[in-house]
């Protein structure tokens, strides 16, 4: 019975979830001189969400310049995406957080919607 409850809990819980890992990404030199990169993984099991926005912030939550393939990532339900965040060498010392935030389409008409944001801290 306990196992059943646990499985049920896991199944229901992961029916609608947002994951962004690792918790503490490391910046390593990329294939471009003077540019560092962090490798992040985004996992979406929120059926009503198709897009996540990526951002980089300093310790005071001011935006830091960065580059990535798409700042607005289109991701399907139950899809896992590997995302590279590129930061120039001069901005590396300022970059503290890499965040992903769910973007809700205007077509979603639930009465109370949850926007989820997960921020990883750069080592």
């Amino acid at each position: 019975m306990k196992v059943f409850v646990l499985v049920l809990g896991l199944l229901s819980g992961y029916a609608s979830a947002h994951q962004f890992t690792p918790t503490y990404p490391e910046l390593s030199p990329s294939h471009m001189t003077g540019v560092y990169k962090a490798e992040m993984i985004l996992f979406n099991t929120r059926k009503e969400i198709e897009y996540y926005a990526l951002n980089v912030f300093d310790k005071d939550w001011a935006p830091v310049r960065f580059a990535t393939e798409n700042r607005l990532v289109k991701i399907d339900y139950e899809e896992r995406k590997y995302v590279n965040i590129y930061i120039s060498k001069k901005d590396v010392k300022d970059a503290s957080y890499i965040c992903s935030k769910s973007k809700i389409l205007s077509s979603v008409k639930d009465t109370s919607i949850v926007a989820s944001r997960i921020c990883s801290k750069i080592k």
């Binding site: 819980g13 690792p22 918790t23 109370s112 801290k121």
Partner: protein, 169 residues
């Protein structure tokens, strides 16, 4: 091949294939992470003409957000309740918002400390919880909107946004 040899080889092959199947590895890694789950979608009840409320007594449904934490003290949860509608009919008068975020169910009894240690700011719209214990915690978010001075909310659809954040620390 002689029948005697075949009788020996067939069971031997079966044993070998069984052994090979038994040795297929399944690997996995449990890493530090925060998972935000929308456990229960909220719903505004309309107990009086001038009020929209998610509390059960007012006919609403309290939205519940679940956080799963793998590593203790790696994250803090920040939940911001609505202070405006993201979509609604035209509202020429002001809307007064009250809200609260509380710890609901927990996977560990010690997580009740999250409630006593929470920090509330931004006119009570934002609540911060230090996730010092690994496991699962459910947060209940209540939101009440009152229109004008006893004015009736215009008919139509109302949508409000809760922001649930997980910040690595």
């Amino acid at each position: 091949m002689k029948l005697k040899n075949l009788l020996f080889l067939i069971p031997a092959a079966t044993v070998l294939s069984t052994n090979a199947a038994a040795n297929i590895p399944i690997s996995g890694t449990v890493e530090s992470k925060c998972v935000i789950m929308t456990d229960t979608d909220g719903l505004y009840g309309n107990p009086t003409a001038d009020k929209l409320s998610t509390t059960a007594a007012d006919g609403g449904v309290v939205p519940i957000i679940r956080y799963d934490i793998i590593t203790a003290s790696a994250y803090k949860a920040v939940i911001t309740t609505p202070s405006s509608f993201s979509s609604s009919p035209n509202l020429p008068d002001t809307v007064d918002w009250t809200s609260s975020t509380t710890v609901g169910q927990t996977s560990d009894a010690g997580m009740s400390a999250f409630e006593s240690g929470k920090v509330v700011y931004n006119n009570s719209h934002t609540t911060e919880f230090d996730l010092t214990i690994a496991g699962s915690v459910w947060f209940n978010v209540s939101s009440v909107a009152e229109y004008g001075y006893g004015k009736a909310f215009p008919s139509g659809n109302y949508t409000a946004l809760i922001t649930a954040e997980c910040i690595a620390q």
